[in-house]
């Protein structure tokens, strides 16, 4: 069945592309082999075929050849169908081959393969290997990636269950998604939270259960200037307020702190150093200091010292 369907769809594309004008359903039925004899059965099958061609991105247009035609027909305009000319230099084809492998086994892997197929058909020989020994990968382990990318691409609002940081119960959220972002290996979706009427970012790994579309394609308007690539850059641009701290660190230990220390000098006590450090978030930094146990002692500031003592006492509790 699948073979006959392929043959029929292929004939249909060839027929509409080579006609160069609109053909009515009746003309198509006469020209393309493989449709059933009953007109109703033909109509149903033809409707499904049209949908499948459009899903492949084939620009199937509806219209008439002249104002006198009563019945609308179908055509595939060659100009709308063909991939415009693209020529790549060998080094460009090489990076293209590398790019196509980035999604391997992830959500857009088959789309990347499909693109490469068309570009090869356009005469490009995308090398399988570029710069030797470099293997970049993008993973999409989060189940929500597929539906959210579809929602972003087709501009559809969605709803999903979301378990916010530090909460155990999931809440129902409604979102008009503007974009998906991978930051340091984790996927996020950003957009307008329609319950809170505010721009929000959600982490995909915290989405609980399915993502459901709540509106038709094209119903989400991305505000001008809402550029996800810019937004991600801004996350890093926020200049945190830096605090100074002074630590005693056992010699030969605390390398994670020494790497980022402002200065290090021997302490009065043999076998110990004094490190001047800078940090922006004392909560996070106190966790890091506590993880070194008896190898690191906070001298100042007092709030950092207290936070570390609190953490350590928490282990004893």
């Amino acid at each position: 069945m699948s073979r006959r369907k392929t043959e029929r769809l292929l004939s249909l594309v060839v027929c509409l592309l080579s006609a160069g004008r609109y053909l009515t359903a009746t003309q198509i039925r006469e020209a393309v082999p493989g449709y059933p004899d009953s007109f109703d059965a033909f109509k149903r099958m033809f409707e499904r075929d049209k949908d499948e061609l459009r899903e492949l991105g084939i620009p199937l247009e509806t219209g008439t050849n002249s104002a006198l035609d009563e019945e609308a027909g179908y055509r595939i305009s060659r100009q709308a169908y063909v991939l415009p000319d693209i020529r790549l230099e060998p080094d460009e084809a090489a990076v293209l081959g590398l790019a196509a492998r980035v999604w391997r086994r992830a959500e857009l892997a088959s789309a990347a393969e499909g693109a490469l197929l068309k570009l090869r058909a356009a005469g490009i020989d995308a090398e399988e290997t570029s710069q030797p020994g470099i293997e970049p990968r993008l993973q999409t382990g989060e189940a929500a990636f597929g539906p959210l990318w579809e929602a972003v691409r087709d501009r559809r609002p969605v709803t999903f269950g979301y378990r916010a940081a530090g909460r155990s119960a999931a809440q129902v959220r409604h979102l008009e998604p503007w974009g998906v972002v991978n930051r340091h290996g984790r996927w996020y979706v950003m957009g307008q939270d329609t319950d809170r009427q505010q721009e929000r970012v959600f982490r995909l790994s915290r989405i609980d259960g399915p993502v459901t579309f709540t509106g038709r394609p094209g119903t989400v308007t991305v505000p001008p200037g809402a550029d996800v690539r810019e937004a991600v850059r801004d996350w890093d641009a926020e200049a945190p307020v830096q605090q100074a701290g002074l630590l005693r660190v056992r010699r030969g230990a605390g390398h994670g702190l020494r790497r980022h220390a402002v200065s290090a000098e021997p302490d009065v006590e043999p076998g110990w150093d004094r490190l001047q450090v800078r940090f922006s978030d004392s909560g996070w930094f106190s966790e890091q200091v506590a993880s070194f146990g008896a190898d690191v002692v906070v001298i100042e500031p007092p709030d950092l010292r207290d936070a570390v003592i609190r953490r350590l006492k928490g282990v004893l509790a």
């Binding site: 073979r3 769809l9 080579s18 990347a112 991978n182 690539r229 070194f292």
Partner: protein, 359 residues
Amino acid sequence: MTSAAPRPEAGPPGPGSGLARPAARPAAGAAVPAVPAATAVRAPTATDRLQRLLALLPYVVTRKVVGLAETAAAFGVSERQLVDDLNMLWCVELRSPDPYCPIDLSYEGGEIVVSEAESMDRPLRLAVDEASALLVALRMLAEMPGLQERSALSRTIAKLEAAAGTAAAPSSQVAVQMDDSAAGTVAAEIAGALAAGRRLHLSYYVPGRDEATERDVDPMRLLVVEGRTYLEAWCRRANALRLFRLDRVLALQVLDLAAEIPPDAEPRDVDKGLFRPSPQDVEIVLELASAGRWVAEYYPCEQVEELEDGMLRVSLRTPDTRWVRRLALRLGEDGRIVSPPELADLAVADAAAALAHYP
């Protein structure tokens, strides 16, 4: 139901076409030979095959003459499948207004030649998903430290955007940002050593043990996985393949020695995950309060279980438990080691020893 009529003998013979009659068709309903593609996750559908058929003619036309074996490899199919595809294209027949066969081709002697492709001589334009997959990946590569082809990347991105037209627009709604601000020069030096096949000396920080280690390694490849860049190399200290996170390289020196990687060194399959627990590993069970739930997202846990009081119980395996003790100190009251109990006791002793510094 009528199937596509066999191509009439009287069809226009292509110039010099010595095409044999298409091979006998499999009976209706016979299984199509499976495509041996490593990436295939579902059975190919009629439209998958249609996409390939639409690309096949232009592939041959732009190359004028091309071998069967080479074409089959480019399309990731067997030669048998490719011949079946070519036959299907050759058999296309339109019945009206007059019967005619728009496509003529030959694959005699293992060389494919298309003599008549009608309007099928150019590939279909890129769909949104296709353009997005490549553009997002290319932009990610452009941000990757150590990649030497910056100019090729920006030229390719521009050409692909132009060719994709409106299909390129949604790709700007996907952003990828890597965690490698500090790794830029290190990556460039490693890429240079890889290209030159040279050994490296690494000073490498192992946070789990809070140790700065010194070792010579023979670089094999740079990996970007989960937003981080790693060097996979043959470690001459461990005599084994090891992964090194670039942001933990304290210092690096390209040595005047050739890299020697044992021929049987098997690079890991990164698509299956970076960290593969082994049966000899110790099983760790932790209980996490709300503020400690990040652990379940950060470390590869084998089991994650919601407990009734809002706590989360996770289990994971590790060959080295020292980092778990450090994690327990970091978590404080936000989490605790449940098992093994000896490890929980050690963490408590660590905390007590640390507190002794604060009289």
